[in-house]
Amino acid sequence: MEEKEKLHQALVSRVLEGDGRASRAERRAAFDNATLTEPIHGLVSKVAKHPTQITDDDVAAVKAAGLSEDQIFELVVCAALGQATRQYRSALAALTIAVGDGGL
């Protein structure tokens, strides 16, 4: 595996599988933009798909629902990494097919 892919994998493994203040299941769900309870689900979805639309109120609502700032920090990081990772993997897979098609 290429060096950058190894470093990418190390980053993803750390945030999903290492120690954290949010549970591993919650971090995985945020990474996958999968089902979480509201209001954290709304914030995670915006991080993945509409980050410029995030407001102070979105973050305040998650705090008011009882999540700690460290938990919010982790879940937002996971959501951002998840979306960027889906893009990255899609492109690397497309590249592998294209290179293979070329008979290389």
Partner: protein, 193 residues
């Protein structure tokens, strides 16, 4: 920033480091730098490793090309902080403001090499639509972009699709031109480690 821990939740040693950076640069420590120092074992350290490798590691793309990709991806994502930071850094790396401005205003008419243009076009599609197809990659290979160059550009794209999201979610403070220039000088002399 929207989380108080990212404004003030640092260890004594990190606070001292921030004070030195602020004294030396005569600018507040950029929020992008603060973010990677917060509980650095969780995100900052492993993210710095891949970002530094993507932006400064071995590649046939120049540092200027890669900073331009970072600025361009940030433009596609409309991330104000990262556009400012990496436009300034790309200009500094190339010593060519017109080239960077031309790409950011109109990729299709900018006077740049065709392999770079084709690569930026693919990064634009990937960033907007979140996926690309083998046909897109065939087009790039046909345009003379090597497999390694595509992989290198994808790592830059990954790093900035992550950072753009965090800048917007956490609400990074957007400095003025002096702040961006100071940050650019730092990134050009020290990289992302």
């Amino acid at each position: 920033m929207r989380l108080e821990i990212l404004n003030s939740g640092y260890t004594f040693g990190t606070k001292v480091l921030f004070a030195f950076i602020q004294l030396a640069s005569r600018q507040p420590v950029p929020d992008a730098a603060k973010l990677v120092f917060y509980r650095a074992d969780f995100y900052g350290d492993p993210m710095k490793n891949i970002t530094h490798e993507a932006m400064r590691g071995p590649s046939t793309w120049s540092v200027g090309d890669r900073e331009l990709m970072a600025a361009f991806v940030s433009k596609v994502n409309a991330c104000e902080f990262c556009i400012g930071a990496h436009t300034a850094t790309a200009i500094g790396a190339y010593h060519d403001e017109a080239r960077v401005a031309a790409v950011l205003s109109n990729l299709e008419t900018a006077p740049i090499e065709e392999p770079l243009r084709a690569t930026l076009r693919m990064l634009q599609k990937l960033t907007r639509e979140h996926s690309v197809e083998a046909a897109d990659m065939h087009g790039l290979l046909d345009a003379g972009v090597s497999r390694e160059q595509i992989e290198d550009a994808l790592a830059v794209c990954f790093a900035f699709n992550t950072t753009n999201r965090l800048a917007d979610a956490f609400g990074f403070f957007v400095p003025g031109p002096e702040g961006f220039e100071s940050g650019a000088q730092y990134l050009l002399s020290r990289g992302y480690k």
